[in-house]
Symmetry: D2
Subunit: 384 residues, 4 copies
């Protein structure tokens, strides 16, 4: 864990650490032994620092060597037979990614609820809309929040469409060893997927869309949260003061200061995530032969870092949304003082009537439509 | 066009040029006038270099000024009323992106056909599988092509799921001007979308998933083609010689040389695309207020370059696949000379039988499954 | 030119266009003919769209074919002999990059002068310092500008350290053709560099630091300007109002609005530049053999776009700095109203004395040191 | 440490871990107490997981709170007084980066020696040059290695030009607290720099070139090594077989296989590094106010990961170069069989003489020039 270099990292718990990666790889090997019908006791609980990974370029040969030493008889003889390193690494990572994405999904659903409530509560809280940093026209805080909610729902849609395929191809994606051992390739693939809770799949050794899609969806989340954090950072500037973070963080030298620490850390994640997803695409584009020499290896830490940070940022974003304080009086005062009637005047003149009492346009209909989408989304996911 | 700095760019035709962008913006303004019921002749055909874009930070105010000069009476008075610059820019870009993505889709479908034929034709053409650059086990060229086809089908799935929403929010996403003008916001939104061939949508001024999804899907395509190009580049090395490009390109100083020019140019696109998509995410994450100050502006040329290059690379990839020459004799010779029986021997020993005649595993079933997916995909898209 | 998709692009003039690239390639061929002692008239002025670039993967074979057609006798027979495509492309690009970087350097020097004057003029203009968006302690606008100036000087240092090497290696970096033709390789290399105004260099076909350094230095510039634009965007928010752009841009629907258009466009460039430089590094890292298959090709448009945009952003940044309006009254009012004495009180208490009259610390010394650095930098560059 | 997700990470030792970051921050606080003339015992050795970092957005307030608890009397009262969090974080990171860059520099110098020897030993070992994957003309392995050496020397030049500035600005870069405490700002800045082994510097809170330059130089290293790894990966393909890694890594299922594991892991690092450096630039461009809200925070883990991986890749690259086996017989056989005389024939014909005995051009002069540069570089660094 790197909580000092990436404050808040501890929120990521065991997601996508070396230790959980090792555990998942052992789980794949255990599932495979079961599938081969080979009896074995509990596989050993290993210390990640004892597994050699560099010599072979990946940790599986080192892990298998230890397992062969520690297991007895048939289990020692049969462990890993029919698999290749990539089957174990890819399947184990997919198990971890599925769990981490699931944690992100839970945050998103909590956020949908929080933002829906906030949009409803403030649908008629007037504030000034700002475009290109300048005062534009009147809007409501509820409509702004409906925009945040839209972004969160978009992110959730992408996340929900992800799938986490098992990898089972053998040495070069032909499943030749599996067939040589007399197994039915389609049947073992489906059973392995089922045991690990992954989606059945043909081998995808060098077709890396399953990985890039996860990366892209993770960045979709940090994009949505980053934009919300930006708004909070702007609106909580003392000169604006229209919202503030629930608590805020202290300063090491200025006792009076309250910093919008959660927004800062969320924005941080949003700045760093896109480049990690780009690395996954560079790796996918560099895939080659029946196993890529370097591109595959670049994926593991990259996707692990990206998705773990997404778990962290998601949790921070939930806290940010849940604790947000809205200062409707400051919003009203700013709007009153702002000269934002010019569009309305020119439209009214054009239409040949006096400007109407308000200029909120379709705000209510838009908020209603977004809230309706939120309800359907939550319902759909409950049903799933 | 930048055909010298980006060879092959001319294949992009009019997709996403300044001129077509201008035309699309004019089409949005025309559709809006129609929707307001304002009669007008054909809107003028303008020279992109006459439209000022820098003063306002975007080209719409400059365009509207020209239109007001060139149009008469009501048309001059009503042009653009109720819209904001972002409505015009975003909707126009979506029109162009829809057309360009559609062109990419056509390439993908052609490629699915070409690769399906190639996989079928070579399902039993033996070759050596290479992992981490080294000879691994036997495989067939058909199975390799089935892997390429899988990547192309994955890219197509992502592309087909894209949607191209109209933008109509007015000054700050409230549609206030539209309401002030006495129009029904939902109705005009739907009619504008319909006229432009875009998807109806609530305003998405600062929720930029529609743009990042297009970027990600475009990179999904270049990833798939890049991986195919990598294989061709390796397999057409003279020492390997298992495939070659149909024609190949000449050298300026070495008369004997035939270079795999299409593969080179496709790989080039695949190396450059991920970072462009990352920029779209950085911009999405930097969105703020009711219109972002810089992040929105960073999108236009970035997504235009990325998607135009995807059109170009798609066309080059189709030519590459269509012209590929397969040298089955060289494949056979390499496989015969290779020492790739070790896995089979150890599996057979483990299973207690002699090694079987071949070691192709589930290759046929995998090829069949991929071909079946290809047929269903083509059928689904024909039906659509 | 893409002035609609990248507003302000026209400021880039002829820098790094297809047309100027073609002209530079012709200049390289002409210089080579001269060096071979082959008489020739003026080489033809060609239309970039007539030069085929895709077939060979680069534009040189197409260009040479045209030149051979258009030139007479010895010139037709000798044109390009001894060179390879990469010699022409790399040298031509270096000529263009040198000119564009030189244009950026001129902007930087103008900016150093503008910012030095601004820092001096406002060294005692009090304002509140903001950290993490919140009011921190008092500072002066002059000290803020000294910070801007430091960033500009840093960028200038990096830019000034660049070198633009000639490329002359022949088919594979051995200069074998040159030697076969009886020429002295070191002598022709130096003479070609001299004629083109480039630095003499050993072949660097696959050692791409000359390109990545230019990219990194360009991003160093947009980083510096982006940070200044950020400050202007924040400080020109109506609630803060401490600075404003000289003119500002208009809105297409809100007659009252003045947008900070230059800051917006500069920030845009700063968001998009880092990923372009990253692509140059991805390409450099993918270099291979004696000429890379795709990585080299990915550089041309990428570095051209990056550096041309740097020219544009530099010119916009100069206008931004030159036109900036400083509202000292608003600065003073904000500072007076802010509660920023807590650090001073705690320090004074700790030191056992009453808080002193002001709390500007070493502002004057820092401003002096930065101004001194600015003067030395301008002097050094005048001397050079 | 993440040795399973990033095989070889253990080579990074204590560089840039959370624990060493904490230790360096404590060292900054201790140096500051010394500078204030406050007596104190050894500062406590803390467990990184006990220091809270998220509440304040950075670890310094949490660290200072612990130090105040653990220290006595004056030390407790004076610890951190006059500093701000950014002074401690930035200075501590610079200490760690200096040490890590120094470790990279040692690898580079070893590599310069290894490659110089290799270039000398093989200056006349003939092999075929490959451009765009195809056979081009004859070259020598020594000349290829001279190209590798050039890239390594370029990387070393950039690394050697780095500087590691102390950060000392107080709350907002004015050094006001320092002055309030009665200290001489220039003097304490220089003394703090001296104690920590950093370069004296004006505050650079929001001018982030010191960080981006380190990132760019690190990527310059991985670019150079990546290109060498690419060549080894290609040349060690069994069909080519002109070089091989000293040992190579095993396979988990194919007993016969030897994989070029070091090259694979070096290439991996080269694929992932550019995007990390881009994030540092995105952060630099997003700097704002007197301390950035998120951009600053995005730097720490990013630069730590990037530079630690550079240490790892540097060590792996040294092993790769030191263990490389050169198969001159295979090189000669490939060259003999290749049809690479066409350029020579056309040049000789043009020059009106018979082709000369060899076609190595200026290879020897180039090798000599690179070796001379290598010697001067090693000498200069010894002297430094």
């Amino acid at each position: 864990m790197a909580d000092l270099l990436w404050p808040g990292d501890a929120r990521g718990g065991d997601h996508l650490t070396d230790a959980s990666f090792l555990q998942a790889m052992v789980a794949v090997e255990a599932a495979w032994l079961d599938l081969l019908g080979i009896g074995h006791g509990p596989l050993p609980d290993l210390d990640p620092t004892t597994v050699s990974s560099e010599g072979a370029g990946n940790p599986v040969p080192g892990l298998v060597a230890i397992l062969r030493e520690r297991l007895d008889g048939d289990a020692a003889r049969w462990v890993h037979r029919g698999l290749t390193s990539q089957d174990v690494v890819d399947s184990a990572l997919m198990v971890l990614l599925r769990d981490a994405v699931s944690a992100v999904g839970r945050e998103l659903r909590t956020q949908v609820g929080l933002l829906a409530d906030l949009a409803e509560a403030h649908r008629a809280t007037p504030m000034v809309a700002r475009t290109l940093t300048q005062h534009a026209v009147p809007t409501s805080f509820g409509l702004k929040v409906a925009g945040w909610l839209t972004a969160v729902l978009d992110a959730d849609d992408d996340l929900m469409s992800l799938s986490f395929p098992v990898q089972l191809g053998g040495a070069a994606g032909t499943l030749a060893a599996v067939v040589e051992l007399g197994l039915d390739p389609a049947a073992v693939r489906d059973r392995l997927a089922d045991t690990l809770g992954l989606a059945p799949s043909l081998p995808w050794h060098t077709s890396r869309a399953p990985v890039t899609r996860i990366g892209d969806a993770a960045v979709g989340c940090t994009d949505a949260w980053g934009r919300i954090a930006n708004d909070v950072l702007t609106l909580s500037r003392p000169e604006i003061g229209e919202v503030s973070e629930g608590e805020g963080g202290g300063s090491s030298t200025m006792p009076h200061k309250r910093n919008p620490a959660l927004s800062i850390l969320v924005r941080r994640a949003a700045l760093a995530a896109p480049q990690l997803a780009a690395t996954l695409h560079v790796a996918a584009a560099d895939s080659a032969d029946e196993r890529a020499a370097g591109a595959w290896h670049a994926e593991w830490a990259t996707v692990a870092t990206l998705v773990r940070r997404t778990v962290v940022a998601g949790s921070q974003a939930t806290d940010l949304m849940g604790g947000l304080r809205v200062h409707a009086d400051r919003m009203a005062a700013t709007l009153d003082a702002a000269d934002v009637g010019s569009e309305q005047r020119s439209m009214a003149e054009l239409a040949g009537h006096e400007p109407r009492g308000h200029f909120r346009g379709a705000s209510d209909e838009i908020i209603d439509a977004v809230l309706d989408r939120a309800r359907r989304s939550l319902k759909r996911e409950e049903d799933a």
